[in-house]
Symmetry: C2
Subunit: 615 residues, 2 copies
């Protein structure tokens, strides 16, 4: 059989149950990418690494290749296993993609795996053969290139591309690769040069910054990297950043450079992991709260911090990378997703987009737990949003041994045999405690009676011996040892202090108050919520029971309706990177959202005081 059949074939992927129509002759790997199922291709799809094994359940595909006989055992072949990169679809087919073959190693943006979307990146790419000039054909280089390009590339040509044009079209073979982005030709290069078209999705948080890299031709996830935002040296929350911008003549410049610098860092780190050249990154989609959004663009944020708290720019912004100093391709388009209000940012837009909050026919709540907490409430008709100053506690900052959700972070705490049992990310020696670990620890300590409703540690009386033995110190120095010295990376115990609990109380009180007030504004009761989505870079594991015991949500919310969705803001940025339709949806979300101002609400302080309690 040959690949010359050109009808469309329907391919289904299990257990995702995603289907896609592709031209017959397409590889299973490419079909999967188009269906939004990301298969690992460490060897670049050359059939040499054997990592992309999938199991063909039914359907017509190409014959088993030598590469597959080398990579797979007789038993595997007999069970239907194939290499996705070597297997061509020749008719309707169904394949199962094992977890081990999946590329998406960050649970953080796991929403991308379950979310249907059309792969249609804004960056386009094609290879054409340009006629040679002659005395009979003295058309300019660009005129000859344009004649070879289709109508969809009839776009202005950037200076960068113009300068590379003469050499590129004269390279041996004369096949020329042309890349277009944001309605301009931005790159021209000989097709013989190794090259790719990559994109980055970035979540620029007040405390944590994460970058995700994708292959835009295949829609394939490649790598990610995270870093703390260096702006934290000016203060933990957005208000302190705004104050720094106002009170120092170079403050705005500094904050802008730090924002750009950390975005460059995470992109560079991720590119190094994926072994790709940052100059081959042709688009960056960024989300962040409104303050981060303004600082990244170099726009004075002072008006965000003063009544009436308005953003200077709400709409989606396209900027060229070199105008910001990003080290990706100089003509790369940097898309900053729209914000909603002064304290409800593009991160919330990303969350709503990725979670499809507004596609539900029931009421649902989405919370982005960052240093700036942002809450979106969908009542089946209207989209209400609000924000609160949660502080950085859930991201591990201002917590004595807090950390981001890195390997070794305590992400889970439970009670086993009357004692605490802690789990770390990657089952490594403990290095600190991350957001989800804090939720669990506080919930467990409350249930054990080691912590009271006011947030005070008990004196140990009435507690089990093992728990009491973990408690030490007095007053603000009182603490619970979560991991003792032998179980940690540094050889000193990981503890949760009374001061840590106070930080956590402030953070949870702010979020809880925002939730209460937004429900009141919508005239909804907590038990009417069909779903509550918890997003944030605070950790990938979320225990709904802990969340409710901890009191981040009203107790009336049924436990089974609470779901962690990881870094949904980042997933939203990735969706807008991979699909221009999703980008337009992000704009529609920002347009329709109605902002509820809590800062000036007289009720807020009142509700906040109650919300800080663990009741």
């Amino acid at each position: 059989m040959t690949g010359a059949v050109h009808e469309d074939c329907e391919v289904r992927f299990k257990p995702d149950d995603k289907t896609v129509l592709v031209a017959c002759g397409t590889s299973l790997a490419a079909a999967a990418a188009r269906a939004g199922v990301f298969i690992a291709l460490p060897c670049g799809g050359r059939g040499t690494c054997g990592k992309c094994r999938v199991r063909l359940l039914e359907g017509q595909v190409s014959e088993i290749t030598d590469a597959e006989r080398d990579a797979l055992s007789e038993e595997e072949l007999a069970a239907g296993f194939r290499l996705a990169c070597r297997t061509l679809v020749l008719g309707p087919a169904t394949a199962e993609v094992p977890q081990a073959s999946r590329a998406l190693d960050r649970k953080e943006i796991s929403l991308l795996q379950t979310r249907r979307f059309q792969l249609e990146p804004a960056v386009r790419n094609c290879v054409v053969k340009v006629d040679q000039a002659s005395l009979e054909d003295q058309r300019s280089d660009l005129d000859r290139l344009r004649a070879a390009l289709g109508q969809e590339f009839a776009l202005p040509c950037s200076l960068w591309a113009l300068r590379r044009l003469p050499a590129a079209i004269r390279a041996s073979g004369r096949a020329t690769r042309v890349t277009a982005s944001n309605s301009r030709i931005v790159h021209v290069t000989p097709a013989s040069e190794p090259d790719g078209v990559y994109g980055a999705a970035v979540d620029l948080g007040t405390t944590t910054v994460v970058g995700y890299l994708f292959d835009l031709e295949e829609g394939r996830y490649l790598a990610s990297a995270a870093s703390y935002n260096p702006q934290v040296r000016h203060g933990a929350d957005v208000i302190s950043r705004i104050n720094h911008a106002i009170s120092n003549s170079h403050g705005l410049g500094e904050l802008h450079e730090e924002a750009v610098g950390v975005v460059n860092d995470v992109i560079t780190q991720a590119a190094a992991q994926a072994k790709l050249n940052v100059e081959d990154i042709f688009e960056v989609v960024l989300v962040g709260n409104t303050c981060m959004h303004h600082l990244f663009l170099g726009i004075d944020p002072r008006h965000l911090g003063q009544s009436p708290y308005v953003a200077s720019v709400r709409e989606l912004v396209n900027v060229e990378a070199r105008d910001l100093g990003l080290t990706v391709h100089p003509s790369a388009n940097v898309v900053v997703l729209p914000v909603i209000a002064g304290f409800v940012g593009a991160d919330t837009v990303g969350l709503i987009l990725a979670s499809e909050l507004t596609d539900r026919d029931y009421s649902a709540l989405a919370i982005d737990i960052g240093t700036n907490g942002e809450v979106a409430l969908w009542n089946g008709q209207d989209l209400l949003v609000a924000s609160c100053a949660a502080g950085p506690a859930f991201e591990g900052a201002q917590i004595k041994q807090g950390t981001r959700a890195i390997p070794g972070a305590i992400e889970r705490v439970e009670v086993r045999d009357g004692d605490l049992l802690v789990h770390t990310i990657g089952d490594l020696p403990a290095v600190g405690i991350c957001g989800s670990g804090l939720f669990d620890a506080v919930a467990v300590l409350l249930e054990l009676g080691a912590l009271d409703a006011m947030g005070r540690f008990s004196d140990g009386k009435g507690l089990s011996e093992k728990i009491a033995a973990r408690m030490s110190g007095e007053g603000p120095e009182r603490r619970v040892t979560l991991a003792d010295a032998q179980a940690t990376a540094e050889g000193s115990p990981v503890v949760l202090t009374q001061g840590d609990v106070r930080q956590v109380q402030l953070a949870k009180g702010a979020v809880r108050a925002a939730v209460e007030l937004l429900l009141a504004e919508a005239g909804l009761r907590a038990e009417e919520l069909g779903e509550v989505l918890l997003a944030g870079a605070f950790g990938n594991y979320v225990n709904p029971h802990s969340i409710l015991r901890f009191g981040l949500l009203p107790r009336a919310v049924p436990e089974e309706r609470v779901h962690g969705v990881g870094n949904a803001a980042g997933a939203g940025a990735a969706l807008a990177l991979l699909s221009v339709s999703e980008r337009r949806r992000a704009e529609a979300i920002a347009d329709r959202a109605r902002h509820v101002e809590l800062f000036t609400s007289t009720q807020f302080q009142e509700v906040f005081a109650d919300a800080m309690l663990f009741v």
Copy 2:
């Protein structure tokens, strides 16, 4: 009478005989600008300097103001003189604009004064009042600005403008000036700040660079400045520039920086004269030959110098100023007019545009005499273009005492009382000889018999005593004194040497050969030419008799059909700056022109040898 009448009034300006329809209530100065008649307004149209006096011949206008009574005498008022800036049109009117009131002091671009065009700059400007934000109106700054702006300003907002937006709309009075260029909002500023919208037209020649500044709101000419191209240190002609780019690793970078540097220089000089801030220049339109065009953009010119001699880019290019390093407004649009072929550049397009060559119903020839000579022939139907390497002699370079057409340059030579009589620009002590002076000097010396048909100086026999006394030296050192030591600025005589004549012969031979071959290609005889236009930065005065005697044109061309049009390329750039319709016409000209390749013509060398002779 008040200005509340809103019908259109027809205003006619004499002696130009240009008419324009303007809203009643428009000032005569503004009406004149719209008609393409440039009136000097040194005080900015405030009625304080009295320089804009015009004579009302007939029509309905506003009453005489106090400012006019102060500025004009009783007799002047009785004779109908008014200040154009103070006089409002209230019905059909005719006014005469004396030469002294005209702003266009550069005869070089005098084509602009006779050429009809519609003032419609690409840069637009408006002042709006932006609503203040409140807790009830939390729309972003940009959303409120957009609501205040009309539909024609529904454009993307540049990063530069975004960064200035928050402060601009909050300035006292809240009136905000918005400037748009090339389909983007590029500047936002408080309307209270002194500000203007200016543009520059630049002719980037191989040897000479000239910049002209205009007020884009009024279409008013402001100032100009010229400089030698610093690239001359790498060689006089485009071939030596191309060689420098090829043979030095940093050659292209150097040439690019020099091109950008000299454009910055002439713009800065002209802006200083006009007392305006270069950052208020929002558009630059540039013409130049194809090599200068490529070097200015930083595009490798090597393929221009190799068969088949093709340009890399032919089409009109828009680039942002900061991407080139121009010191005008960083978001200013830099328009590089289209070229036609590898050696027929945007300067020729400018010449054809400004001279309306292709609007004639008879055959006409236009010659741009630069270091690279470019010739356009219109036969009433087709537009043929060709180029030749003339060398820089006509711009004063490689001539012992050659100079650009600067004050003190000998621009005219005639015979009076059996001796030479020279005229300098501005009647100043002579500083050297410019292009038109060379034409005259050679023609006069040929007529006197001091120079023979082969271009050799005579030994003085048979010449008048006065002429013979001016000749000295032997062989290549033989020379004629044009201005003796007392009549020069430096106290040493200005002479024309045998070597100078040789340079002039090479230059005129190349141009003449191109003219002959182009006529042959079109099947036209010289006497059939209805008009010959001579353009170039070589001097503003052109003596058709000298041109014909000198042999730049075939003798069969009737003398009265030869016209100097000054720097028509620069005038073309200015037209494209002042009018987007003219810009589109420039593109149409480049599209329709048919290039005739002379480099590879076997006839060229043959014709060239003959064309060097003064017969």
